[in-house]
Subunit: 350 residues, 2 copies
DNA sequence: TCCGGAGATCTAAGCGCTTAGATTTCAGTT
DNA sequence: AACTGAAATCTAAGCGCTTAGATCTCCGGA
């Protein structure tokens, strides 16, 4: 790799000053066409690629948005050993779909997307390092040190995804967890006459609370008996690094399992199938999120779909808005959800 | 957003020099614990987040790898209008799986991943800008200006994915396209006795050539009649922005369609179903790539699977290798593929 | 021919960090 | 008490770019 050419090299080669070189790339219309051609020719000849670091340093913005992600299913402990072809992550997960939405939105607005996540080895993948690289940052729900987030939010706009607004300096994008859960639960009660419902908790406590509340709303409104406490399943690490739900062997069957997330619901379907329990005949099952895998399993999963691609878009919009107007206060957006009826609740195929 | 704190602010607040502040973060073991605590306290108090631009400028590396991607299915023309929830991209595509492999590999080695792609609006998402941000770059096959790639390759290591090695300065990672295609074709001939085979081309010309060659190898080796020229389907833009294959209405049915990619094969399955042609009874169909959607359709698609996650890993390894030893020459890695027999060729379910 | 002024180009001062190499500190000698 | 050398800290010089503001060019008009 030959020593990289800089503005200085290009300037000398073209017989102009570095300011003109810079101008040629930043504001071509302000330099005379003949000069412009000279500079561009020199740049080409020297294999000039402008340093984004230098640019970022000089003008204070990088043109990059960041996403600090987190694998629920593939924790950092997964290592080289695993056969990459047997990736359990066949279908895009919740976070993948949001990420995809961000990618598209970034592309549309001329931003690049920097993706990082917890990493043992240090390096630029860590939260603070990501933050140092970008103009704005999105973080997925997880136990990130609140102190670090606050610190970063004091420097660049930060939006927390799927994390109910707290009294912090972050923007928040969530969905109507309570309303959505209330709606599916009502469906089970009204359309399918299920009266003995068991709520199964998920992994994100904050969202889980809201969803449980929605569940209770529906149960109470129907005059059913005060719901049991949510069943909070234990999890077990699968060989692939995936977390699988574990249920007590003696769990009595309710008339319906109302799960806080699709992930849990899918595991539950598998467990039930293993025990010879028929869904939805013996027991109904519903999820929450609307991940692709839920459409593909048999029985297909009735669920509450979050508009994930749109969430990604909204995240980017919020970031852009706060970048345009740095004085703007943090934003909170709650997006609507949609109940998707499929087989696992007793509704027709798909 | 208050003006961001810098090393200078932290240094003053802690009563040390900026060198010490820097040292505290870069090489903590070299500063006395008491001083370190002082600096860290100041950093916390001031909400200090180090500027990655400044760091990158100063030490010449950013800790970021880049991926310049490209949506075959969602070209840049897709706009706000489309319902994001009806994203046709339900299942991860070829490029998504490789990207995922890169994400994991980057995380494992402490790199962050910067994702960009063609964008109309300019900004940091463009090829050269991405290049300026990263220590190494991967590009997906497409008609990227070769001149730009050469230029960038003169400054940082670049690896071209799924693009046969050319006489350039890029590293290349591909798979055994020819051998894989020969293998499925042989399977159709030997196991299913198909003798009238039609090859349907894909979108990437270079890979298509190798795959067609593999097809010809098998046909010739079986002593069958010289294969027709590949059928190169026209494509049509779907409302969602997806490119769909179009076949002539009067296309005579061979005994098997051997498709250059899964994408094309899946479209073909749909077209055939629409015409009431039964697969595999009336005609066999095979694909190439091993994308998830091929496992989920009915009939499930017999294909040649590329080790996509591993490709992503290899890409990162190559980049890392050339970063460690800048003198190293570009690398070429061809990975093996695996024939996956499913329903569409006449083999049992799944 | 000379002058004014718009447009093109240049000069020079940072942006915030890293890191040689210089300097200071300090515990241990003698 | 003076001296030593290792450890700790500091000084200062960039890294490559952007951008005010200064300067130069060059054309039309008097």
């Amino acid at each position: 790799m030959a020593k990289a050419a800089t503005v200085y090299d290009v300037a000398k080669h073209a017989g102009v000053s570095i300011a003109t070189v810079s101008m040629t790339f930043r504001r071509p219309e302000r330099v005379r066409p003949s000069t412009r051609d000279l500079v561009l020719a020199a740049a080409r000849a020297l294999h000039y690629v402008p340093s984004a670091s230098a640019r970022g340093l000089a003008d204070g913005r990088t043109g990059v948005l960041g996403l600090f992600s987190f694998d629920y299913l593939l924790p950092v402990e997964v290592d080289e050993g695993a056969d990459p072809d047997e990736d359990c992550r066949d279908f895009p997960l919740y976070v993948d779909e949001i990420q995809r939405g961000m990618e598209l939105a970034c592309r549309r607005h001329g931003y690049a997307l920097l993706i990082g996540g917890p990493s043992r080895v240090g390096g630029a993948g860590n939260l603070t390092d990501i933050a140092g690289h970008v103009d704005g940052l999105a973080v997925f729900p997880q136990t990130l040190p609140a102190e670090a987030l606050e610190r970063i939010a004091g420097r660049i706009p930060v939006v927390a995804v799927s994390e109910p607004p707290d009294d912090d300096r972050l923007s928040h994008v969530t969905v109507d967890n309570r309303g959505g859960m209330r709606a599916v639960t009502e469906h089970l009660i009204r359309a399918h006459g299920r009266r003995d419902l068991l709520f199964v908790g998920g992994l994100n406590p904050a969202e889980g609370r809201d969803r449980f509340a929605g569940f209770q709303d529906a149960v109470r409104a129907a005059g059913l008996r005060v719901p049991r406490e949510p069943l909070v399943p234990r999890t077990r690490a699968l060989p692939g690094g995936r977390a699988a739900v574990v249920l007590p062997a003696d769990l009595p069957l309710p008339e319906a399992f109302v799960c806080a997330t699709d992930d849990v619901a899918l595991d539950l379907l598998e467990i039930l199938a293993g025990r010879g329990v028929r869904v939805p005949q013996d027991v109904a099952v519903t999820g929450f999120d609307g991940i692709v895998a839920g459409r593909v399993v048999r029985p297909s999963l009735t669920t509450v779909r979050q508009p994930m691609a749109e969430m990604g878009r909204v995240v980017v919009d919020i970031l852009r808005g706060r970048l345009d107007d740095p004085g703007r206060a943090p934003v909170f957006r709650e997006l609507p959800v949609r109940v998707v009826l499929r087989e696992s609740c007793g509704c027709g195929p798909r």
